[in-house]
C-alpha cells in the first residue's frame, strides 16, 4: 500500500512588491509514490521546494494545483485525521514548551494524540529511556542543550507511534554523537514499520537512514532511485586509490587529477565518461608496481555538493 502519492503537486507563492505582483514556483508539479515502510531522503539545495512539499504533505499548506494522498487521506482537507497517524519534526520549529519541563509537553501531546493516560505515560518513559533522556524529563526545555532538545523533539513525534514520519532537517545543529543517536532512533522507527520521509543536507543522515533518494531542484524531481545509484548517476567521477611497492611520483595523465600523493600511495580522480576505467587502471598498472588498488564512487558529500553547485551556477 502507498503511504504517499502525489500527482502534479504544485505550489506557487504570489509575491507583491509595491504595486508589482510576481509569482514564485516553489514546487513545479511533482509525482511521487512512496510505499509504506520505505525510508526516503528528499534532498536538494536551499529553496528547491523540499520544505514546501513536506508542508503540503502534512496539510500545513494548500497546493496551487495537483493532488496528494498520505495514508489515503488528502492532507489539506483531512488534516486533523491525518495528524493522528503521522509524526512531524521541523528542525527549525519546536513543539516543546520552552519554559516547562519536556515531560510536561510529552504529557500534553499524549492528550493531543488522544492516548489513554497510562499508554501516554508508558510511551513517554519508554522513549525517554531509549533516548537517554529519563533524567532530563523534569528539566525546563530552556535549560537543555540543542542535542537534548532535538532528541525530545523526535521522541515527541514518535509518542503516538505514527505510520509516517516527516522529518525536515532533524539533525540540524547537532554534534556527531547526537546525530548518531537520532539516526539510530529514526532507523529503529523505520524498522518498526514507519515510513520515513526525510530532508537533510547531511550526507550521513541520508546514507544511514534512507535507501531511496529523491532529488528536487527548482521544484522538480531530477532523480528518484537508490541512494547507492545516486552517486553513479549524478557524478560520473571515479576515485582510484593505489598503494605501490616502490616510491611513487605523481603521474601526468590527461584527464586525471591527483587528489593526494604520499611516498607509496596516490589518490586520483577522473571522469569515467571521458576516460574508460580500464584504460586508467591499465596505465597505472603499467607505471607502478601496484601492491593494492581500489576504485570507488566519490563520497555522498561530493554528490550533494555537485547538486548544489549545479544549482548555484544555473542562470
Amino acid at each position: 500500500m502507498l503511504a504517499v502519492r502525489t500527482e502534479g503537486l504544485r505550489k506557487v507563492f504570489e509575491q507583491r512588491r509595491g504595486r508589482e505582483r510576481s509569482s514564485h514556483v516553489a514546487v513545479a508539479g511533482i509525482d511521487l509514490q512512496i510505499e509504506q515502510g520505505e525510508a526516503v531522503a528528499f534532498i536538494g539545495p536551499n529553496g528547491a521546494g523540499k520544505s514546501t512539499t513536506i508542508k503540503m504533505l502534512t496539510g500545513i499548506l494548500h497546493p496551487s494545483s495537483g493532488s496528494a494522498e498520505v495514508l489515503g487521506l488528502v492532507p489539506w482537507q483531512q488534516r486533523q485525521r491525518l495528524a493522528l497517524q503521522i509524526g512531524t519534526v521541523f528542525g527549525q520549529r519546536s513543539q516543546l514548551w520552552f519554559h516547562l519541563p519536556a515531560g510536561d509537553t510529552l504529557r500534553l501531546l499524549g492528550a493531543i494524540y488522544e492516548l489513554p493516560t497510562d499508554v501516554a505515560r508508558w510511551r513517554s518513559e519508554e522513549l525517554a529511556e531509549r533516548f537517554a533522556l529519563r533524567e532530563l524529563l523534569t528539566v525546563p526545555v530552556r535549560k537543555l542543550s540543542l542535542g537534548q532538545r532535538m532528541r525530545f523533539e523526535i521522541a515527541a513525534s514518535l509518542l503516538h507511534q505514527p505510520q509516517v514520519l516527516f522529518l525536515d532537517e532533524p539533525t540540524v545543529g547537532l554534534d556527531v554523537i547526537a546525530k548518531a543517536e537520532v539516526r539510530e532512533v529514526i532507523r529503529e522507527a523505520n524498522q518498526g514499520g514507519a515510513t520515513v520521509f526525510l530532508t537533510s543536507h547531511d550526507a550521513g543522515d541520508i546514507e544511514s537512514i534512507a535507501r531511496r533518494a529523491i532529488v528536487i531542484d527548482h521544484g522538480a524531481i531530477v532523480f528518484d532511485g537508490k541512494v547507492s545509484s545516486l552517486r553513479r548517476q549524478w557524478l560520473t567521477d571515479k576515485v582510484v586509490e593505489l598503494r605501490s611497492e616502490e616510491e611513487v611520483t605523481p603521474p601526468e595523465m590527461p584527464g586525471v587529477v591527483v587528489e593526494k600523493a604520499s611516498r607509496y600511495g596516490l589518490r586520483l580522480r577522473f571522469s569515467a565518461q571521458d576516460l574508460p576505467v580500464r584504460q586508467v587502471v591499465a596505465d597505472l598498472l603499467e607505471r607502478y608496481p601496484v601492491y593494492d588498488i581500489t576504485i570507488s564512487d566519490p563520497p555522498l558529500e561530493s554528490v550533494i555538493a555537485a547538486i548544489y553547485q549545479r544549482e548555484a551556477t544555473r542562470p
Binding site: H62, Q92, D104
Partner: protein, 263 residues
C-alpha cells in the same frame, strides 16, 4: 479515548499555558498587580472627574465603573486566556502556525489557548473587584453583569479575530491590528453618549465599541431585550465572518522558516 477524555484536553492545555507563565512566579504576580493598579488609576481619574461634574449625559460614576468592570473582565478573559489572539497577525505573517496545523486538534482554539497573557489577568481580577466594590452586587445584578461580560467578550473575540486574520490577505496586518485594537479598547472605555453623529454609526459597525460602551445602561441599569438580542446577533455575525476569514485564510497561508519556540 472517550469523548470526555478528549474534552479534558482543553482545560489541560490552558493549565499548561498558565504553568508556562508561572515558571517565573514573581514576575507573574508583579505583572498582574501592575495591571490592576493601571486600571485602578484610570478609575481614580474618573472618580476625580465625577467629584466635580457628577453627571455627563446622564452617566454617573457608577455607570463608568460598570463600563470598566465589564470591558476589563471581557477583554481580560479574551486576551488573558487566548493569549495568542493579539499576536495572531504576527504569527500568520511569520509563518508560525505550522506547529498547530501539524497536530490533530482544531488549530484556531489550540493556538489561541496555548498562551496566557499575564497582564490581561490583571484585568480579569480588576473587573470583578470593581463590580463588588461599586455596583451594589446582588444575584440579579450578578446575572446581568455576567451576561454583559459574555456579550462584550464575544464581540471583542470575534472582532479581534477578524482583524488579525486580515494578515492572510494583506500580508502585513500586525501594525494595523495593533492600532485598531487600541482604538477599540479606548472607545470601549468611554461613556457612549459622548459619541454622536457619524461616529456613532462607526461604533456600531466598523469599530463595534458602541455595543460595549452602551452595556452599563442597556444591560445593567435598565436591561433592554432588543439591545441584548442585537448585540448577541452582531457578535454571532462577526464570529461567523471571522471563522470564514480564518478558513479562507488558511488556503493562502504561506508558512515560513523562522526559528520558533513555544514560549
Amino acid at each position: 479515548m472517550s469523548t470526555a477524555d478528549r474534552r479534558r484536553f482543553w482545560p489541560r492545555l490552558m493549565l499548561t499555558a498558565m504553568r508556562a507563565q508561572l515558571a517565573y512566579p514573581t514576575a507573574f504576580w508583579l505583572t498582574v498587580l501592575a495591571m490592576v493598579l493601571n486600571d485602578g488609576v484610570w478609575l481614580a481619574f474618573w472618580w476625580l472627574y465625577f467629584s466635580r461634574f457628577p453627571v455627563i449625559h446622564g452617566w454617573r460614576l457608577e455607570d463608568v465603573a460598570a463600563l470598566w468592570a465589564i470591558s476589563a473582565s471581557a477583554l481580560g478573559i479574551v486576551q488573558g486566556f487566548g493569549g495568542n489572539l493579539t499576536r495572531l497577525a504576527r504569527l500568520i505573517m511569520q509563518g508560525e502556525l505550522d506547529v498547530y496545523l501539524s497536530l490533530p486538534k482544531p488549530a484556531l482554539p489550540h493556538l489561541l489557548l496555548s498562551r496566557v497573557n499575564v497582564a490581561s489577568l490583571g484585568d480579569v481580577l480588576f473587573g470583578p473587584l470593581v463590580f463588588l466594590a461599586f455596583l451594589h452586587p446582588s444575584l440579579a445584578r450578578l446575572g446581568l453583569f455576567l451576561l454583559a461580560v459574555v456579550l462584550a467578550g464575544a464581540i471583542f473575540l470575534a472582532f479581534l479575530l477578524l482583524l488579525h486574520t486580515m494578515a492572510f490577505f494583506l500580508g502585513r496586518a500586525d501594525l494595523l491590528a495593533d492600532q485598531v485594537t487600541i482604538s477599540m479598547i479606548t472607545f470601549s472605555t468611554y461613556p457612549s453618549p459622548i459619541f454622536q453623529g457619524g461616529l456613532r454609526l462607526v461604533l456600531f459597525t466598523l469599530l463595534p465599541a458602541g455595543f460595549i460602551n452602551t452595556m452599563p445602561v442597556s444591560i445593567l441599569r435598565s436591561p433592554d431585550p432588543r439591545f441584548i438580542a442585537g448585540a448577541a446577533a452582531f457578535a454571532l455575525l462577526l464570529g461567523l465572518l471571522a471563522l470564514l476569514a480564518w478558513r479562507q485564510g488558511l488556503r493562502r497561508y504561506a508558512s515560513g522558516n523562522l526559528f520558533q519556540a513555544r514560549l
